[in-house]
Subunit: 353 residues, 2 copies
């Protein structure tokens, strides 16, 4: 843990007497009632702070884990407002490609994005502010799964600067390239621990949300991977009375790879693999590309708001393939891997030792 | 030329005294006036006939051109109505992957597709009929460009079977993986000849349409390739008095690879290439994937109407890569290739001997 992460560690937050914030589902009528939203900018400042801290924390973790490769950093400015810092490692020792990006962008929301976000008609332009971190790791070895993580804060305001809405989103999910169910079990177990301080209801809800989100709907509902957690459009008043709790959640999720992913990398680092395993990895990466370009909201939002295209598409694997279609023979690596993608209660499956 | 293609060759059609159909742009007011549409099914029958004939013609051409590989055929039925025949060659002598698909599908149009097609509100369900052929060839050698071709006929009807609208679409375009401007020039010149019997105005119009369509808008308007021709929503009454002319155009375009593409394959077949050329090819193929999944209407329509996913996605390359972003050094292969993608008058450039 970096000093910053420890400082606002949700467990420390709970221990300090704030109590574990509980998940209060808002009744439907209440959701439709307008909610008074403070315009004091506090959330923006806090989100900006953890965006930078989480970005640094993940960069440090992945650099250590790789054991030889280094990130190349590029800073960029967005024409309409804001910018970001993209860090890319290619051809590292362990990671074939790892992207760790942060961005803080603002400006006028393009009409297509407005429609996608389901924003009601507002006189004049709608302005947005978005701050967050996005990570995708494509390891060289097919025995090490691919991981994705994202935490973000979003705010909409009218032309006069009055806040119209604000919400948090995030999540992290694992995409195995080789059938090792223990990895999925260990990832989910560690994630449940990350979520625990925020109330018992949170992990099952976010786990199911993830299973519903990372779906290649054009491929008979095939999942991108074995899931993890996902949440979006979480508004402070829907979460609990303590507004800081959603910021603490962003930090908890944002620094979670240390306990969810790093142990898997260490455990699988020296596992043997050859051409068959590589071929299966490239095929699964093809499906990863399909999900990201056809279905992923974050990717489409990024491309629509003219953020930096190369940064938005850093999630794409370094290489991918589309081999002859058709199923894998029963009992083969590919068959066992595909079988793992059906959602299940991974907490009931034995984790890697 | 197959006997069928010769039989309804547009030049033969013109020679037979029908005259070269001319392109009559319809004034805007007239377009807005409702057009009486015959419900006799003639167009459907004719489209079904050329769909099969063009499919066979292209299969024969590519099998000959490959010089060793063979297509594997799969017939499929669509749940909502209709079906198709997918032919896929993988790891041929010349072609790493070539897909030649025909489909004839019909049924109820899904709401998303309705919206995409801009269909005005009609009481009850809207039914569609679509027939056509789609081809994508990904050669093994980076010295041979990738080619795409598609011809299609589309009809919408109301619940009582009355035709609401019908149109033709199609085109063919070239995507070089290596900077050989002569290939682009020769492709465009041969295409201009294919279009010539249909009137002088057609080729320039369809060429510009193609330049406007195959654009990776998220990549600062970078084109997918060097273009060719593209047309869509061409209604019989917008084209000319002879309804058969649009069918003849479908056949002319559908059988055009014999004169537009085959000579390039023959000319480049034995050209040398190595790792650098392969790396550039994989990078350009990554952009091909981006276009097809983010922007291509045909792909999105296919996935929305639950046609067979593997057939819709046969356009994706067998392998692709997303290397470190950033431009290519001035004068390098990649730089010269990227420079070729800017639209230009290829008829003014020297073709390959």
């Amino acid at each position: 843990m970096t000093p910053f992460a420890a400082q606002i560690d949700p467990r420390a937050h709970a221990r300090a007497g704030h109590g574990a914030p509980t998940l209060v589902p808002t009744p439907l009528e209440e959701r439709r009632r307008p909610v008074p939203i403070a315009d004091d900018g506090t959330d923006r400042v806090r989100a900006a702070a953890w965006t930078v801290a989480v970005h640094e924390d993940i960069t440090a973790l992945l650099t250590d884990l790789d054991g030889g490769g280094a990130f190349v950093e590029e800073q960029w400015a967005r024409d309409g407002g804001g910018g970001g810092v993209s860090r890319l490692m290619m051809e590292g020792m362990t990671f074939e490609k790892a992207g760790v990006n942060r961005s803080m962008v603002h400006g006028v929301l393009p009409p297509e994005a407005l429609q996608r976000l389901g924003v009601a008609a507002v006189p004049g332009e709608v302005r947005f502010f978005a701050s967050g971190v996005s990570v995708v790791v494509h390891p060289r070895s097919p025995r090490i799964p691919t991981v994705h993580l994202n935490v973000r804060f979003f705010e909409l305001s009218d032309e006069d600067g009055h806040t119209l809405d604000r919400w948090f989103g995030g999540g992290t999910d694992l995409t195995p390239m080789y059938p090792q169910p223990e990895d999925a079990a260990s990832f989910h177990r560690a994630l449940a621990d990350v979520c625990a301080p925020f109330g018992r209801a949170l992990h099952p809800r976010f786990k199911a949300w993830c299973d519903d989100y990372f779906v290649n709907r054009h491929r008979t509902q095939e999942r991108r991977g074995v899931g993890g957690i996902f949440y979006d459009h979480l508004r402070p008043h829907e979460f609990g009375p303590d507004r800081r709790s959603l910021h603490a959640l962003a930090v908890a999720v944002g620094t979670s790879l240390r306990t969810t992913y790093a142990p898997i990398v260490e455990a699988r680092r020296d596992a043997a693999w050859g051409d068959d395993e590589r071929a299966l990895q490239l095929e699964r990466r093809g499906r990863y590309v399909e999900f990201n370009l056809l279905h992923d909201r974050g990717t489409l939002f990024g491309l629509q708001t003219s953020a930096r295209t190369d940064s938005v598409l850093m999630s794409l694997p370094p290489q991918a393939s589309w081999p002859r279609p058709g199923g894998h023979p029963a009992g083969s690596l590919g068959d066992r891997l595909t079988a793992m993608l059906a959602p299940r209660d991974w907490l009931a499956v034995d984790a890697v030792a």
